[in-house]
């Protein structure tokens, strides 16, 4: 997605230790037009891969919500965002744990089987693909709900991280809109996604 690649090239900042700052358009501030374009880009990419009849988009809070909602808008299907703390309204939610390298420890993810079921054909959408552990935990939850996982889409893939390899066992297409191939000093190398 050219506009996203260009934006990362202009504004993305390498903060060391593999951290990419894209707060201006993904993790803190959002531009509606760019966000909606991400959704259309995911819809087009998966469509071209023959992924059809998607019935639900699933993501995890926080920064996955915007690109997931945009994908839901583009496909005309509902979006479910897994929670990281169990809400009082979700006593029956399923739980999975994603090891977090940047934050240390594990992050719990809660998904209610009330909203994802055996009839669902699911696209997983998130902001970043790095370790792949969040996506893997979400995929496990979707499987436990009995739903079919059709594909994984991430706005920004860090190709120097093991995410894509980690997800290969899922046996579904993994799509990224922008691929960051190197972060060093103040430099960010970015190209079209895969």
């Amino acid at each position: 997605m050219e506009t996203l690649v260009r934006r990362i090239r202009q504004e993305g900042r390498s903060l060391g230790q593999g951290i990419l700052k894209v707060d201006g358009f993904i993790n803190h501030r959002l531009e509606p037009a760019l966000t909606l374009e991400m959704g259309r880009a995911f819809a087009a990419r998966f469509g071209a891969l023959g992924v059809t009849d998607v019935s639900k988009v699933v993501t995890a809070e926080v920064s996955g919500i915007a690109p997931a909602l945009a994908t839901g808008v583009a496909l005309g299907v509902p979006v479910v965002y897994a929670r990281k703390k169990r809400p009082v309204t979700m006593p029956d939610a399923l739980i999975s744990y994603a090891p977090s390298r940047t934050k240390g420890g594990v992050t719990p993810l809660y998904l209610s089987p009330e909203y994802v079921g055996a009839d669902d054909r699911v696209l997983l959408i998130d902001d970043f693909l790095a370790s792949g552990q969040t996506i893997l935990a979400l995929a496990e939850l979707i499987g436990r709900c009995g739903a079919a996982l059709l594909g994984v889409g991430c706005a920004v893939e860090k190709t120097f991280e093991p995410g894509r390899e980690t997800l290969s066992g899922l046996g579904v297409p993994v799509v990224s809109l922008a691929a960051v191939t190197a972060l060093s000093g103040a430099g960010v190398r970015v190209e079209n996604g895969r």
Copy 2:
């Protein structure tokens, strides 16, 4: 907003202690069409109140992101979502604290002055108006950024909570799309917002 009122009437569940479960369309699962309609409804309501030249929508993670993004889409302006944990990318973020009655203790809110500044004319959008404390903390952050607060919009107002009174000192219009006037047993009383 009739569609939201109807949806709450059909699907909202009173869980006791003033808790309203609307996970099916606000706090866990989202319906793109309904969410986008919320954004258009906020834009229309504030427009009718003479609130013009909005330059930014501000909210807090997590459940505020969807209605805020929808409002940004409707108004064609960027959205900034305050974080509840300080991201490693935001060492200079301003912090404010919102007392949390349901969760106990206080919730920190982080907003980067890099993305909200003295030229900004801000609408605050959130999912719920109950105690009003989150909105109050966000309004304080916006003031410290030097921006002008033009109005506050909440998808669902609990009229039996003190939120609207708490926010009266802000001196800006407070708009809700649906007003829940009573929660008791399994019953939810809801009408058009204010």
